[in-house]
Structure formats: C-alpha cells, structure tokens
C-alpha cells in the first residue's frame, strides 16, 4: 500500500483500476532495404496516411456529437499536419536516398520537426508540437502494426493515470468509462481539473511522480476531496473507502432529492443559492438543480470563436431568453470580461508582459465604448422582460465604477430617445476581485447596488500566485488570513450600506467553506448548477449563530492551513 498526495482538483471518491496513459514506446529498428522494396514501402506509408486520416475524421465526428464542434476543431490542426506536403515529400525523398525501412525514416523526420519546433520561442508553435506528436504516433502505430492504446478503446471504468492530459487525449475518451483522472502535473484550474468537474468525477493533480509509482491495472483509491491517491490498498483501507464511496453516492442522492427546499438555516436565516452559467441553454440545468436565480451569467462566449462582433439584437435575444426563463428570479449579467486568459479574435490586443495585470475586462470596455455600449443596450433592453441585474468585472476603484455607469447612462438616454422600454431601476453592481476594491469596499458600497466577490482572481491578485503554475499553486489558499480579512471587510462594508453580497468564485462551491462563509454573513452563494443542491443542504443543517462564532474563531488563526483544517473538521462533524 502506498499513499500519494497531490492537489484535490475535483471532488468525489472512487475505487477502480489504473489505466496508464504513458508515453508510448515504439521499438523501431533501422533496417536497410533494397531499391526494389522502395515502391512497396511508399505504398505502406500512403496506406498508413489514408488509414490515419479515416481514423481522425471518425474520431472528429464522434467528438463533435459528444462534446460539440468547437472541441472537435483540434482535429482540424491534426489533419493539416497529416496532409503536410513538406513532411510527406521529405519522408519519400529520404526513403529513396537513404534506403531504410519506412517506419525508421518517418520517425527520424518526425523527430527533426519536433526538435525544430521546440527551439522556437512561441506558444502557438509549442502547441503545434503536441499536434505533430499526436499525428505522428497515429501514423507510427499503423506503420508498426501496433494497436491504438489510447483512451479511445477503454472498455471498463478505470482511473486514467497520466503525466499530463492534452485536450486531444481527453476529447478522445469514452466518458462513461473514466472513473477518475490523476496526473503528475497541473493545478486546480488545469484542463484536467475543469474536465473532471464537468464530468462530475474525482480528480487529483500535481502528484509529481504518480506515473512512476503506479503500474497498469493497480487497484487505486482516488479521494478527490483530500487530494489523496492510495495505490494497492490493504483490505482494511479498502473497506473504509468502500463505505465512504457508498455514503457519498447516497448523500448525493439525498442532496438532489431536497434540491427544491429553500436554503434556510436551523435558526431561520435565509440564504440564496444561485447558479453560474455561461450559455443560455444552461438555464435548464440551473433550474433542475434548484437554483434560485443566476448569480453570474458570463457573456464572453458570445465573442469567442467567431470573426465578427455579436450584434445588439443577437445579445438582446439571449439575455431576454434567460430573463424570461428564470421567471421572477434574479439574473446577474456580467459585462464582457476578456483578457487575462480569455481573448477574442475580433479585437487585436497588443502582446503584454503581464496579461492579468493588463488591458482586460472593464479597462478594455471603458476604452472601447463602441463595443461596450452594444452590450449595455442589449442588457438594458432585456431588463424589461425579467429581473436582470448588471455587474462590471475587475473594478479597481470608484472612478472606474462611475465611468462605467456614465456610459450606461448614455445608453439609457439613447433608448429613451427611441422609446425602447427598459427597467429604469435596474440594479448595478460590481465584482470585488481586486485587493484595491476589497479594501475600498466602503466607498464602493455607497454607490453600488450589490457586490459579488470573485474569489479566483481576488486570491490570485492578493497572494500573487498564478494558479496554473504548478510550482507555486500550493500558495493559492482561499483560507489565507489576508483573503479572509478582505472578504470580511467587503461583507461588513456592504451590510453597513445595506446592500447584499454574493460570492461567485470557486470558494463558494467548496462544501467545506460553507460554514465559514455563512458565518461571515455572506448573503448569496453562486455556484455551478451541479453543486447547488449540496450547498443548500449544508446551509439547512447549520445554525447561523454558531457559524458566526465559528467564523470568528477561523479569523483568529495565523495560517491558511490551520483555517482549512478547521473548516474540514467542521464539515466532518456535519457529515461524519
């Protein structure tokens, strides 16, 4: 039995066998061939290309159906590499000149390209290396008669063990056969973590050398709550986790059964639990999981993966749909939050040294009122059809909030002139995600109608930690005393000005933080739809008064680790 510790990336407990997605090793021998063998070797190569092409197209079709066309687009790049004339010509020329077997020649040419590309300092080209390798492996398998050992052929539920998972790997998986994901590298926001959460399976990342310590078919316990992987567990441990696994699934059913009950504490404090959405279609899932509104409607998707900018009408239709679909309940629309790690192709933004500190979100919108106003008018028009609220991202201080509002006023005037109806009293709030906003919350509260705390960025900016950087990811602590003090400051300032505060970052969706946040007197939790039932359930099991003293004690600790342990222990008391 061996215990490996990593970063918990997606909750849940699973017991299943390991399936290693290792680096494939091809035994390629260098064999001289005679001149008369050249045509048959070329034929072999062409056949391999044709077969690979068929394979990629088939895969692309399946992915397109399962996960949407955008995900399937990775394979366009693969096809481009596969059909590359320079590569093909070089292979054939070298075959004729050097006269070695085709598998050897091809692997040599492939190696050369990968080497050239890895020397170029360019992120885009670095990504292309994985495309070249991916396609190269497929062709080599055909040339050496090897089976596809990749995730396309999974037949039983397994824990996928990998150094790292590329989007192409994960896109190819048969989802129903993946019980959990574990990787050597990656942080809480890596591709693996995001995928695991969306599939509702546990994941542990950043395990460093799991691929060396785990063998194929080893029995594994993956505890995504604690970031723990147990290899080859003994009978005793296995029994403990079997019970935990069983309990978790029965608890999940319990949560879901009670999803429509309101989130009211044992001492009658009412909390709102809302859902985060990105696409209008996600409204259905939000309602099915008992969400009492939408606490964060991200609007970036409108602008992504297209060549033109979305029109006012197009946006208006979507916002109106959402406003009407969630009858009566609030919908908080966040205005365009691009930049940082989200870019759009229609507007060229100069390359920046520190994109997260650069021209993004509200800064961009204020500089480009031509783009900003289209969205504001669309939101205003939709406000006539439901309880829409408006929220600006990344506000650093009161001046930016005022500037945004004066552009909003211009938009209102324009609509009034044209006699287009909108809600004159639309509530306007802002995201608290910069330390500067958190520390001046009292000033902002005087003019804003509500706050929503975006913990992901707030933590990143406060602790100066890039969450995606595995070397420093451990410093990303939602419970760091600095973060907790800021959250407390924001909530207190808001309540003094009698405005509500929500939280839409990841912190709000982690069950263990519910008592703490409730105790800090957070009014609204906005979380992924799937998590709504469990947050509501936990709230119903707590007393507000007790939570307040719990939070007070949590604030007295000097390290984030102590606070986190304190929170974990508390949640264990509730769910032993």
């Amino acid at each position: 039995m061996l215990e490996l510790r990593g970063i918990p990336a997606s909750e849940g407990i699973v017991i299943a066998k390991a399936y290693k997605l290792g680096k494939e090793i091809f035994n390629i021998f260098k064999e001289p061939i005679s001149e008369k063998d050249i045509p048959s070797q070329i034929e072999l190569f062409e056949e391999a290309l044709t077969q690979t092409r068929k394979e990629i197209i088939k895969l692309q079709e399946r992915i397109s159906q399962e996960m949407g066309r955008e995900t399937a687009e990775i394979f366009d790049a693969h096809l481009l590499v596969l059909e590359d004339r320079m590569l093909i010509e070089e292979v054939i020329n070298r075959l004729k000149q050097e006269r070695f077997n085709i598998a050897y020649i091809f692997s040599e040419v492939l190696k050369k390209y990968v080497e050239i590309f890895s020397k170029i300092e360019d992120d885009y080209l670095k990504e292309r290396i994985s495309d070249i390798n991916d396609v190269g492996r497929r062709i080599l398998r055909k040339l050496t008669g090897k089976e596809n050992v990749s995730l396309e052929k999974l037949s039983e539920r397994v824990v996928v063990v990998a150094h790292d998972l590329s989007p192409s790997d994960t896109a190819a998986m048969h989802k129903k056969n993946v019980a959990a994901l574990i990787t050597d590298v990656g942080g809480k926001t890596s591709h693996t973590a995001i995928l695991a959460k969306s599939l509702e399976i546990p994941a542990v990342v950043g395990l460093k050398d799991a691929t060396h310590k785990i063998n194929n078919h080893d029995l594994l316990i993956v505890d995504g709550n604690e970031g723990l992987v147990i290899v080859d567990p003994n009978e005793e441990t296995l029994e403990i986790y079997r019970q935990k696994e069983y309990k978790m699934s029965s608890i999940a059913e319990r949560f879901f059964a009670d999803k429509d009950l309101p989130a009211i504490t044992l001492d009658n404090a009412k909390i709102k639990v809302l859902a985060n959405i990105e696409l209008p279609e996600e409204i259905d899932s939000a309602r099915e999981h008992g969400a009492e509104g939408i606490g964060l409607y991200r609007t970036e998707f409108f602008y992504m993966n297209r060549d033109d900018l979305p029109s006012e009408d197009e946006q208006f239709q979507a916002y109106k749909y959402v406003a009407q679909a969630i009858t009566g309940n609030e919908v908080i629309i966040r205005t365009l939050d691009l930049g940082g790690d989200k870019f759009i192709s229609q507007v060229q933004i100069p390359e920046e040294m520190y994109p997260f500190l650069g021209w993004r979100a509200i800064r961009f919108c204020l500089a480009r009122p031509d783009i900003f106003k289209v969205q504001l008018r669309a939101i205003l028009r939709a406000s006539a059809y439901g309880n829409l609220k408006l929220m600006y991202p990344m506000i650093s201080g009161i001046e930016e909030f005022r500037q945004a509002n004066s552009i909003l006023e211009e938009c209102k005037d324009e609509l009034r002139e044209k006699n287009i109806p909108f809600n004159e009293n639309i509530k306007v709030g802002l995201m608290i995600e910069l330390p500067s906003a958190a520390l001046t919350a009292d000033l902002l509260a005087e003019e804003a109608d509500f706050f929503s705390i975006g913990t992901n960025d707030l933590i990143q900016y406060s602790l100066a930690v890039d969450r995606a950087n595995e070397n420093v990811a451990y410093l990303y602590e939602p419970t760091h005393p600095a973060v907790l003090r800021m959250i407390k400051n924001v909530i207190d300032a808001a309540h003094k000005a009698q405005i509500p505060v929500g939280m839409c970052g990841e912190m709000a969706s982690e069950t263990k933080f519910v008592p703490l946040l409730l105790g800090l007197e957070l009014d609204e939790f906005s979380v992924p739809a799937l998590v709504v039932p469990q947050i509501k359930y936990i709230v119903r099991m707590l007393k507000k008064e007790e939570a307040v003293s719990f939070a007070k004690e949590a604030l007295s600790f000097s390290t984030g680790k102590e606070v986190e342990d304190f929170c974990s222990q508390k949640i264990k008391e509730i769910f032993p």
Binding site: L80, R85, M86, I116, I120, D122, Y124, L125, R128, S345
Partner: protein, 87 residues
C-alpha cells in the same frame, strides 16, 4: 505557363502564424501550381503548414512568393490578399 515571383510585406498582426498560416496553406492547396515562399535564405513549400510555420515570418517581414503553374495568376491574387490582410 505563367511563372510569378513577387516580394510581399506581411501585414497580418500575428505574422504568418497561427490562423493566418493555416489559412494560407488551405488556400495554397486549392491550386495546382507549385508555390514556394522564401524569407532570408530559407525556402519552403507554400502548401506545407510546417514549412510556413518554420519560416517564422513576423509582421512586417518581406517574403518572396514564387508560383509556377497554369493557375498561377489566380493563386497570386488570392494569396497576396491574405498576406496583406491586417487582422
């Protein structure tokens, strides 16, 4: 058969990278003509994504495009437009 040689200054903001490069290759492959690109002393097949990416033509750099074949006239027209597009 037409043979065209022309020096063009790349105007795409990203240079001949990423999407513009992929687009170039897709358009180049529509034509029967042989298409080569030359920058400094490097010469690559204009129908190859790898070749073009390796050329590393940044915005503002000059590339020599050479087209040889029956549809060369139409090819230069379309490819030049692509290189001169600013977005």
């Amino acid at each position: 058969m037409p043979h065209i040689k022309k020096i063009i200054k790349v105007k795409n903001k990203q240079g001949l990278h990423a999407r513009p490069a992929a687009l170039f290759v897709q358009v180049a492959n529509k034509f029967k003509s042989a298409i080569t690109l030359k920058k400094d002393n490097e010469k690559v097949n204009g129908k190859s994504i790898m070749g073009i990416l390796m050329l590393g033509a940044e915005r503002g750099s000059s590339v020599e495009i050479e087209i040889d074949g029956e549809d060369a006239n139409q090819a230069i027209l379309e490819l030049e437009t692509l290189l001169l597009r600013e977005e």
